[in-house]
Every structure is written in C-alpha cells, then in structure tokens.
Point group: C2
Chain length 370, copies 2
C-alpha cells in the first residue's frame, strides 16, 4: 500500500502530466516503477504515521527521497558499467549514456520544488527543517562517496572496521535511513529532541544493511539480487571483508592482493575484441604485426594491466581463508542488534503496525546476514 501510494505520488510530482514532451518524463519514472523495495519512502511514511502524522504530510517528501535515490542509481549504473537493474537492462544500456546522465540530472534538479511546497503542506518551520535535513544528507553522502573513491584510487588498505563504518555512515546511513526517518518524524510534528535517537537507530541499521549488501554482492543469486555479482571486487571497493582480508593475510598474500587491486577493471568491450583478434591471428587472417598494432590501439584507452577472472577468484578464496565473510556477518549482526536495542528505547514512538515496519526492517536486514 505504501509502495503504491509512493509510486502514485512520484508519477503525480514527476511524471509527464500535462507536459507535452513525454519521453524524458517517461524515463524519469522508469527506475522507480520497476518495482524496487522503496525502502526510503517506507521508512518516512511509517515514521510519520507512527508518530501521529498524516500520509499527505509526508508523501511528497517520501516520493522525493525515492526519486533522489533512483537518480543516483541511474548514474551509479553508468559509473559501475552495470548492465542489469531490477530485472531489466540499465537505463544507459537501453537509451545510451547521454540520455541516462540527462535523466538523472533532471531527477536531481526537479527534487527541490516538492520540498519547497512543503511550506504550504506542513508549515514553514518543519518545511525548512526537512530542507536542511536533505541538504545535510546530500553533503554527507557526497563526502562518503568521495572517501570511497579516494580509497580505491589511492589503493589504500591500512583501514580498519571503524574507518569502513565511518565511510558507510556517510555514504549509506544518512541517505538510506537517518534522513528518511527524520523527515518522516518532522512531517509528523516531532521536535528536534527526537532527531538524535533516530540518527542512532539509522546509523546502526545502515551499517548492518551495507555490510550485508556487500556480502550479497560477493555471493548472491543473480536472479534474486538483480545486480552483477562480484562487481565490488572488480572495482576494488573497500568493503569490510576486503579490508579485514588485507589486514589478516600473510605478508606475501597481502602483497599479491594489493597488486591485484592496483590493476584496473577490464572493459567488457576490450575483452571481447582481444579474443576476436587472437582468433583471427590464429586463423592466419591477421598478421602478428597487425594484431600487435590493433591491441596497442585498443589498450591505449586502458593503459594499465587489467584484473583477470583468476585474480578475482584468488581474492575471494583469500577472503574465505582468513574468515572475512564470517567476521563481516558478525559485525552486521551486532549492528542489527544495536538498531533493535535503540528502537526498543524509543518510548515516545507508540507501538503500532507502523512501528512494526521499522522492527520488521531490522529483522529483514538481520535475516539477510545469515
């Protein structure tokens, strides 16, 4: 029901409506209507209703947070060269990179108006608090992404669980949990003193969520999970498991792992073309010097050595050997329990089916860790 209400609101706020030129606005609705979990709107709506607010007070904000998230998914899919999202080709595979960049930008740009219209909907003070919460969220998310990219780019690895958790708080927890919870509470009229406990709840939930998401990226079933498997390893993302592995491996394995991580990810195109060139050369249809020239030409766009599938397999085996996956599941479970503990202390949040949504979410995230 909540998902349907949110889909309807996204279509009302951001869809073609009476605008003539349909195609961009159709594409804005593409990802949101593919049937994702709509986690962020669910959190906002459950918190607002659970604290005695009305659905109309929170719905545009919830829809806007979901749109924001989907804009980043579209751009992330380009950046990560992902081909598949929620059971369909990614937007840039379907429509090309230029249109996918443009659609994401349009979604980010359009999100300001509904938050300004909150002034009439929930009053000036709460509307400004929601705007400030969103501004803070975007700043922290950008900081978290910058930190993660920097670690990959500089091939950093002397990082511990606390470093990883700080990065995840910035990159994930604010944007997926803390701000949706706080925005829902503000829309229900909750005072500033309610913000800190919600932040604490969202921080623990975010840590558990991101760690399990990273675990699923390594091991999950493509049918169920809907994303490319092992993509994080190819990209060299500093997950809790990878950092634990680097800290706990034998020195020679450590060196080899760091050397692998320094290699770039191969582009799918380059791989296939190289295979084709090899075959033509083997069949005598291409001279060796011609092959060398073509390979050099192709590699001029990918100057450094690429990770190979055996590199990735070796890294994964090393993770298993040092117990990194078990460690990550333990840390995720601890944070899920801490989230449940914080939720239990919120005596100002009456028991109701709305509060149950939050408790169920903790269980769901916890369940994914097993």
């Amino acid at each position: 029901m909540c998902k349907e209400a949110c889909d309807g609101e996204i279509a009302r706020l951001y869809g073609p409506g009476e605008r003539g030129n349909g195609s961009l606005y159709d594409l804005i609705l593409d990802y949101p209507l593919r049937g994702g979990k709509a986690l962020r709107p669910a959190l906002s709506i459950a918190t607002c209703l659970g604290l005695g607010g009305h659905l109309e007070a929170v719905l545009p904000t919830a829809a806007t947070l979901e749109l924001y998230h989907n804009a980043f998914l579209i751009h992330d899919d380009i950046e990560d060269e992902s081909w598949w999202r929620r059971g369909k080709p990614t937007l840039h595979i379907d429509h090309g990179v230029p249109i996918a960049i443009n659609v994401g930008d349009a979604m980010l740009s359009l999100s300001l108006q509904p938050l300004l219209d909150n002034v009439e909907r929930v009053g000036l003070g709460p509307a400004l608090r929601i705007l400030r919460a969103v501004a803070k969220m975007t700043r922290l998310t950008v900081d978290g992404q910058a930190l993660e990219l920097d670690w990959v780019r500089s091939n950093s690895w002397r990082l511990n669980d606390a470093d990883y958790l700080k990065m995840v708080e910035l990159k994930t927890s604010w944007y997926t949990f803390i701000t949706p919870l706080q925005a829902g509470a503000i829309a229900a009229g909750a005072g500033p003193e309610r913000m800190e406990p919600l932040e604490s709840f969202g921080r623990h939930l975010g840590a558990a969520f991101q760690i399990t998401d990273d675990l699923l990226n390594l091991r999950g079933d493509p049918q169920e999970y809907g994303k490319e498997i092992g993509g994080d390893l190819w990209e060299g993302k500093r997950t809790l498991m990878l950092l634990y592995t680097l800290r706990h491996a034998e020195p020679k394995d450590q060196d080899r792992a760091i050397a692998i991580l320094a290699k770039r990810r191969p582009s799918p195109d380059g791989e296939e073309l190289t295979d084709l060139l090899d075959r033509l050369a083997a069949q005598g249809e291409l001279s060796q010097s011609g092959r060398a020239e073509l390979v050099a030409r192709l590699q001029s766009h990918q100057p450094s050595e690429c990770k190979s599938i055996s590199d990735i397999r070796w890294l994964f085996e090393l993770m298993l050997d040092v117990g990194a996956l078990r460690h990550a599941r333990d840390v995720a479970a601890t944070h899920a329990r801490q989230a449940a503990a914080v939720l239990a202390t919120l005596d100002w949040f009456p028991h109701s089916r709305h509060r149950d949504v939050l408790a169920d979410l903790v269980d769901y995230v916890h369940g994914r860790t097993r």
Copy 2:
C-alpha cells in the same frame, strides 16, 4: 573584481576546506577556476549592487548559480563527447567518465545548503523567493533540454522560429539570464513587481545569446571559442539556422538534409579504428573476411549509418545557400535591440556602473552577432 569575489566564494563554499579527502573537492573547483566568463554571477552581483543591495547578500547565491552551471557543463561535455573546455581537456577526458559524473552530481547536490543559509543572510521571505526561483529555473531548464533532445531523437523539423525561441527560453534564458537577474534583485530587497521586467529583459538577451552561440559553434575560431566546431551539426541540434534551412530548401535538398540528420554521429574511436583496419587490409596484414568481421563487431555498438564529414559540409553549404546564417544574425540582433529597449524602461534601476554591466552585456552579445 566580481569574478575574483565569486571564485573566492566558490572556493569557500564548495572547496576542500577542512575536509580531509581533497580530490573530489579539488575537482569541484576545476571548471569554475578555469577562467570562464562567470556570466551568471556577474548578472546577479550587478543587479544586486545596482539596486542598492550588499555584495555579501548575493555572493553565495551567485557562486551557487555558477556552480550549478559548471555541473551541467561537466555532464554536457560527457553527453556531447567534447574533448576540450576552456583551453584544457574536459574533466571526463582527464579523469574518466565515472568521476566526471560523480563530480557533477556532487556539485548539484551541494548547491542546496548555501541557498538555505540565505535565510540568515537575507531573511526568510527573500531566501524562500530565491529558492523558488531556482526551483522554477531547474524545472524549465529540464523541460527545455527534454524538448531539444526530443526534436533530435524524433528527427523533427517542421518547427519555426517561434518554436525554437520557446525552446531557448526554457533551455537557456531562465538559467543563464532571468534567474540570475531575479535572484540578484531579490537579494537587494526588490519586490515581486520587479520580476516581470527582468524576465522580459532576460528572455530577449537569452535569445540573442543562444543564437550567436549557435552561430559561433558553426563558424568560430577554436582558439578563441574553446569548443569543438560544428558539433551542433554532428549532433543534429535544432538551431534556428538549421530549422530555417530545412524550411527554405528545395524539396530534394530538404529530403537529403533530413536523411543526413537521421544518421547518427560517429564515435571518434570507431572512426580511427576503421581507418586503421583499412590500412592493415591494404597492406595485406589483415584478410578481407577478418576486416569485415572486425568492422561488424565495431559497428554492433553503432548499428545505424553515421554522418560523414561530407554530409556536414553539404549541410553547411545549404545553410549558406538559403541565407540561414544571415537570418539568424538578424533575429539575434532584433532580440539584442529588444533587450536594450526593455533595459531602457527600467526607471527603478538607477544609472550606475552596475547597471552599465547589464548594458555592456547587451552590447557584447550584439557585437558577437557580427
């Protein structure tokens, strides 16, 4: 002076500051500090000061509009496959597409906070009016871009000057002229009754500006202009000149022009590789069947026929033949004169060196038309 103040403000608001992870924040400053015209901040600052406001009241808003513009430039350069911007390689050429997308998103996302901080700086009412102006600007800009993309994608051509001017008002005038002018006026305490004349001034100036920009794209000196020449024709952008040409060409030329516009733009990579394959085949280093297989493989990513340099030259000759460039210069000059006429009616805008900035800008845009 105004440019320096704005650069300093951008660095203060959006630069690395005390944040540890420098590289993303360094890249945010890359385009703004390359020494563009900083047209939008100049308009905001001149209007604010000219109407008796203080520099501090408008500076963060001016810097934010400039940042917004630079975020779109970064993403446009990816979408247009541009290699060169303000005398240096584009950001995605220097740092790769993923980082360039990310940096642009970060810039768009960070722009909310300074506009919210306007509440303390210029008061609640003006701050909200500036926020609403920016929200309107982004919505109209998105609509304009969507319209332009739709015209290219659907190969539309039964469009007249009025259609083009409406698209330009949406795509360019609000974002480059009207909103910067209005935001400057609001920061100076101007009432809502001042908004309409500024909108009219900015609309005419925007039309003259975009038409001359399109003319320079066809004919300009790369050294001076700093962008790829003729890129609009390769992309099939519906400029005033192109639409005039399509309307005024002989039927058989019309058909040929429309057929050329239906072809896609070749990717620079594909072109070079095809040349290399031709040379290898000519030298006997590559068999004809091997060449055919490689060409097919390369073209599987560009299934439809590509525009050729002789297509582009023919289109340009046709434009000259029908007098499209002369017509465009006339329309641009008319709008520049109308902008000057509107400016002359603004009796509430005292004569000063700040008002002279606006008058000089009209002259500058007018001068570019010759």
